[in-house]
Symmetry: C2
Subunit: 202 residues, 2 copies
Amino acid sequence: MKKQGVLLIISGPSGSGKGTVVEQLCKRDNFSLSISATTRTPRDYEIDGVHYFFHTREEFLRMQEHKELLEWAEFCGNYYGTPRKYVVEQLAQGKNVILEIEVQGALQIKKIYPDGVLVFLMPPNLEELGRRLTNRGTEDKDTINRRIHRALEEMELAQEYDYVVINDTVEEATEDLLVIVQAERMKCSRNPNIKKIFKGEM
Amino acid sequence: MKKQGVLLIISGPSGSGKGTVVEQLCKRDNFSLSISATTRTPRDYEIDGVHYFFHTREEFLRMQEHKELLEWAEFCGNYYGTPRKYVVEQLAQGKNVILEIEVQGALQIKKIYPDGVLVFLMPPNLEELGRRLTNRGTEDKDTINRRIHRALEEMELAQEYDYVVINDTVEEATEDLLVIVQAERMKCSRNPNIKKIFKGEM
């Protein structure tokens, strides 16, 4: 029997560097990224089942109705969601599944899948966050200030998360996430058959 | 402000190798072993406040009455217990405190100190446990069978623990315990002031 993987749900404000950290984790053999379902039109290079699961509005609403989505949201007139089936299959194969998602969606998932592990990724401090957002050079001062304000708001909700990781460097933050998954896999709640395994009955 | 350490409560059946693992952890700078209080007579080499805190029966009962013990038990006509004060002081200094204790005492502590982390150390399987107990060469077959029976009983209660660590080798088991402590320190519940720290207010 293969040991169930861990569903790792990562959130963090713009400038926390979650994209880069998730990329590092996905390079590992035993990690796989969750694939979202969407109703938006695929771009030229996008492959169904790789970048997204593409669906019609009708299909998406049917999935939603049949509770086949772990969470969903509407954005710019399109639906986006996390199909339960893909996640559950990967976990059953022993893969740790990563879900990069904003705070509201993350808390929504935790309610219906309490075994999911919520990690909030933080930039080390206010000055560094300002520096990271400024260095991008893509946003004006007003936008940066709005993002900082938003980050502080999200941190309030982070208290409902399981873990907080401070992203000082990508290497350390990636290592911290690996440590969290390793510890989670040793939780008694995730090892209900330990006595049977010990006795050689499983 | 120094970050609070983690109280690591380790149990495991005879033959799980917890003594050796605890010894390895204690070699680390940021770990310290809890010191028990007892009413038994000190042996020649034993130093008060190092090996035990030695107390009269009256003192011990007073401590118990004033809820100054995290747990206590009577054994061969003497009282043994874990003084709360020493543990709390070490944790406040940022030290992780290790408590090696049997299952009943561990569950007793978890009730009054829910931040304590309960780890159950397991021998890898039934055959290996038998081998370890036999190799000691100190116990007869009956005693060994009783110990195995007891180990299986304790494993039932282990489901109430937080983590289970399988002691295949001392090195790996020690590493697993370090991983657990590292992950625990990232728990949001242990970092209530993260937003203030981020804003430079602490």
